[in-house]
């Protein structure tokens, strides 16, 4: 009996406005018994269609029933100066909501007009000076994963070697990484660690690498997702390379 477009209603107020419009009712003088009935039937319909009825719809249902009961009961305060209409608050709410529905409609029109007009697009982000495709930024997790692979390959070999002289410092390894990069300009993550045989060395070198990334002295990129990680030298003024 209802031809209801499902999912059209934004909420109970929207549904009420729809019912008011549909039955050509005066918003200032809503026949509360009728509208409550219509509203409940709609909820029933939603139920039979197995739609989730949002809690707000039920709250409104109880509000309607409350208003209905108040209008039906002989009011005690009838004699006092024109007892307030129990519908008053609901009417105010409906009017307010309707006003903003209009405003929303207006915004939609602006949106459609704006869609017709184009502007320059933001250029694709390019924060690397090389011409070739720099690939993806590498997340810390990805870096750690690759480091884990390096450690796994080398780790156990010198497990027992405890050298008192293994005083590898982050500064020292920073120099080492920068030197390597000044020769190659670009190398793979694995290559960076290839000549290092102790876990300590690996870890310190990795720390140096992170430190250098943080100071943007080099860039790490991954041309394909989960692929090889490449390390690039960054030409900065305080990074005097062999050129």
């Amino acid at each position: 009996m209802y031809q209801v477009k499902l999912g059209v209603f934004e909420g109970p107020l929207d549904l009420l406005l729809h019912l008011i419009r549909k039955h050509e009712l005066d918003i200032y003088d809503i026949p509360i018994v009728m509208i409550t009935q219509q509203y409940m039937e709609y909820l029933k319909l939603m139920e039979t269609l197995n739609l989730d009825i949002a809690g707000e719809f039920l709250v409104m249902a109880s509000t309607l029933i409350y208003i209905k009961s108040r209008t039906l009961l002989p009011s005690a305060c009838d004699e006092e100066d024109e007892a307030e209409d129990p519908r008053a608050q609901l009417v105010q709410q409906l009017l307010e909501y309707k006003r903003f529905k209009h405003a929303a409609q207006q915004l939609r029109e602006y949106e459609e007009e704006r869609e017709e007009v184009f502007t320059r697009q933001a250029p694709p982000p390019e924060d690397i000076a090389t011409d070739e495709d720099p690939g993806l930024e590498v997340s810390l997790f990805e870096l750690l994963r690759c480091f884990q692979q390096v450690v796994d390959r080398v780790g156990h070999v010198d497990y027992y070697e405890v050298s008192a002289e293994s005083n590898v410092s982050v500064e020292q390894q920073t120099e080492f990484v920068l030197n390597k990069l000044s020769v190659h300009k670009q190398m793979s993550f694995e290559d960076l660690f290839e000549e290092q045989n102790t876990k300590l060395q690996l870890i310190v070198t990795f720390l140096a690498l992170l430190e250098l990334i943080r100071h943007q002295r080099l860039l790490v990129r991954q041309p394909v997702p989960f692929g090889q990680i490449l390390i690039y030298a960054v030409d900065s003024p305080n990074n005097s390379t062999a050129h």
């Binding site: 909420g11 050509e24 009712l25 707000e56 409104m60 903003f100 405003a103 409609q105 017709e116 184009f118």
Partner: protein, 186 residues
């Protein structure tokens, strides 16, 4: 070619992907606002008079070079994968309430709409259409929301004052009140 201020401004507008404000132009060109404004107005008129495919718009507190409306069909052929960024009715309603009532807290929006809006607020923040403006000094210190520059850009507005006045919207009301009551009464 003798370089005029107008040329410089036009070049800057051409290159920029965002509206440029008078203040930005002032900083870059080291010229007075008055001169800049008159150049901008001249440029607007230039584009108008030579029936250009471009127009210079005053939008979101700045100036931006845009294409003319009728050209969209061809541009859409160039950018076939372009997604429309239209907002849902629920998002529009929520935005409208925020735009007119800002700064506003969630509970106040929900009173007007009669439904929960927390999900929509999250989406709108993600899209940078609204922002958190602070906390209201009431118990619970709820967050207050307001619209952003991106909001103005999305709807092509110069500033918030360009929105129709709330009173104007009120006046609209009786006219499209239950159609029958008013119009078919006679």
């Amino acid at each position: 070619m003798e370089i005029q201020l107008k040329n410089i401004i036009e070049a800057l507008l051409f290159v920029s992907d965002k509206p440029l404000s008078i203040n930005q132009l002032k900083q870059i060109t080291d010229n007075e606002k008055k001169e800049l404004t008159s150049c901008l107005n001249e440029l607007i008129a230039d584009y108008e008079s030579r029936n250009s495919g471009l127009q210079l718009l005053n939008i979101a507190g700045g100036y931006q070079l845009c294409t003319r409306p009728g050209l969209a069909p061809w541009i859409n052929r160039l950018y076939t994968s372009r997604q429309l960024r239209r907002l849902s009715p629920a998002a529009l309603e929520t935005l409208a309430i925020i735009a007119y009532r800002q700064p506003i807290i969630r509970a106040e929006i929900e009173v007007v709409r009669g439904v929960d809006v927390s999900g929509i607020l999250r989406t709108l923040i993600e899209k940078s259409l609204i922002r958190i403006m602070g906390r209201k000094k009431v118990p619970g210190r709820p967050i207050m929301y307001g619209t952003t520059q991106e909001f103005l850009l999305h709807f092509g507005l110069e500033d918030l004052a360009c929105l129709p006045k709330m009173e104007e919207l009120k006046e609209l009301l009786p006219a499209d009140e239950p159609e029958g009551e008013v119009r078919e009464g006679g």
